[in-house]
Point group: C2
Chain length 357, copies 2
DNA sequence: CTGAAAGCGCTTACAG
DNA sequence: CTGAAAGCGCTTACAG
């Protein structure tokens, strides 16, 4: 015996009112031509009974579940919450659910994650790929969120422009000798950011790039980055490709007795939770995740709803180019200041001229 | 005309082999008694055709979707990734998908989020409730992840014990006068942590609690916490209910020229990503999220699979008590040291006695 | 404007 | 050991 659902179904409503299920279905979906009176009667009855349509029935009939998958590369990436929230928001706004799949940084796992989602009959997939992974054609619409340097059907923050914005800001404050901190040069995101930064260094200036992973291979995990040394050699600003690295730099500087921003300016990337919590607040660059998510989800939705299997299953994100780039936004906070500013102008226990303690 | 799925279905397999769908279904699920030969033939054919069972068909027939919902209170909570990953891992390990719903910190939104999930026919819901919310009976199994002080069907980290562990550690290092930093006393989690801490302060010791939100209401956002002042008055250790607050304390101390752990010991809570990145690494306490997730998901699964609608729709997490408590684990790193230790024993540019720069 | 009927893919008693 | 049949809840041509 089949397992009936607890709540009322179309049959129940139809029986109560004395019409056919077809009419109830039409009235509720607003598709068939049903008389205005009947429509209200049916809707009222549905509300009265607390009718919730069965996704299973709908899905079986239409071939669509109203659920999209979200594949994330590595939860340890602190950007994860922003992405997940933005996708969930954009999706639920147009009636889609979001099924989560974490690939835990493993390429094989990523494929497995995609398969798990397909087994759950998702209508499409948003994927933030593991570094260096290319997404092959899977049998459903796909939208990729990655670096714009990644070929494929991608939406991305414009990391290059973000890098430019940071360095323009520093240059505007008079800084000329910059230390740029990256982690791994094989990351296209990091490369874009560093590339954008370098492109804005002035010809009378200088930029030295520090790749943390390379340094740590030589000197061991958590080794000092030698920042004090560089500052002694005249560098006045440090720009990191992530708030995480900026924080590491900040604490290293503190321990060396170097003050931020009085002695050196410092910037991060991504505007992670604590970037605004630390004192002084970290100047950083923020991705417009809501916008990125909206583009990805909309592309997916139109591929799902528009193309009835006759076109490629790949969602179309950008019509002209292959990639949609979304600008990043500079968040100026207190870790950046004009070069050679008079040291410590504010008493640490005074805020906005008002004594606090 | 109904919308056929792209891939093969049971009919297809049945036709190719020349048996009935019932037999194919039985062979694949291993339920009915089918001859060993037929089973292999059918399985091989299914593999060959790349058969993926239709969740919609299964769901419609059985009333189960194999999907559970995860309701999160507020994405700005940096604990989110750990929770989401752990739940996804535990769920996918036993064949369940996880549908995400973010309630964005709003109580009304939380109800909406639950409804969205129910409309997607989830079999059960794991919910991390918004502070102060009680979960009412919704028509499906529910598991709550919260503070153990929350009544209801709850799994939780043992925040009280975590607080005890921190203070025991500090006491063991000789600290007697402690500053405890919380944010909001109306949070049961924070109260549990602070409570646990206080319960381990020795009778010859002293603990002063600082509630940040209260302070900020008086003195404004981001105001100094007056830590230097307390240290001058003989406090030698600071324990925060969150790494976030510990980080804020750390930067405030740095700016006041106070060194950690030489001048004062500092601890956090939650072991957020950057707790191990900062220099020195932050001593903190970690939740056993994998364990918590497993308990929650298992409870849900057994409520879904076991109870056939005859018992309460609430999942049973803890049989004896109402709450399952999972111990927290102390992560000792470099921000804690014995009280009155000789100041700065290591050169900052030397690690493990080896010169690095 | 309304209804009868078919069928999406699956599972489960039941009969053979 | 295997199969015919019913039915989960829905939508959509089609007929009236």
């Amino acid at each position: 015996m089949a397992h009936p659902r607890p709540g009322p179904n179309l049959n129940k409503i139809a029986a109560e009112i004395g019409v056919s299920v077809a009419t109830v279905s039409n009235a509720l979906s607003g598709k068939g031509r049903v008389s205005a009176k009947l429509i209200t009667r049916i809707r009222d009855k549905a509300d009265e009974l607390g009718y919730v349509p069965s996704l299973a029935g709908y899905a079986l009939r239409t071939g669509r579940t109203g659920v999209i998958g979200l594949v994330l590369p590595d939860i340890s990436n602190p950007l994860f919450p922003q992405i997940a929230q933005a996708i969930e928001f954009a999706a639920s706004a147009i009636g889609y659910g979001v099924l989560l799949a974490d690939s835990r940084g493993d390429v094989a796992m990523q494929t497995e994650a995609v398969n798990r989602l397909i087994e759950k009959d998702v209508d499409g997939i948003v994927i933030v790929p593991r570094r260096g992974t290319r997404i092959v054609d899977i049998g459903c619409p796909v939208a990729v969120i990655d670096s714009p340097s990644t070929p494929g059907n991608t939406v991305a923050a414009d990391h290059w422009q973000g890098g430019q914005a940071v360095v323009e800001h520093l240059i505007g404050l008079g800084h000329r000798k910059l230390v740029l901190i990256g982690n791994n040069p094989s990351s296209t995101v990091q490369n874009d950011r560093i590339g954008g930064m370098r492109s804005r260094v002035r010809s009378d200036g200088q930029a030295e790039v520090l790749w943390i992973e390379r340094l740590e291979r030589e000197r061991g995990q958590g080794c000092p980055l030698g920042l004090a040394d560089r500052i002694a050699r005249g560098f006045t600003a440090i720009a990191a490709v992530s708030d995480l690295h900026a924080l590491r730099a900040l604490t290293e500087l503190h321990r060396a007795g170097i003050t931020v921003p009085e002695d050196v300016s410092l910037t991060g990337f991504d505007d992670l939770t604590w970037a605004s919590v630390v004192t002084p607040g970290l100047t950083t660059v923020r991705m417009d995740m809501p916008r990125i998510a909206e583009i990805a989800v909309r592309a997916l939705a139109s591929a799902i709803e528009g193309d009835r299997g006759n076109t490629s299953p790949r969602a179309t994100i950008a019509t002209s180019a292959e990639v949609a780039k979304v600008p990043m936004q500079l968040m100026v906070r207190q870790t950046t200041a004009p070069v050679a500013s008079p040291s410590r102008t504010t008493d640490p226990y005074t805020l906005e001229g008002k004594s606090l303690c």
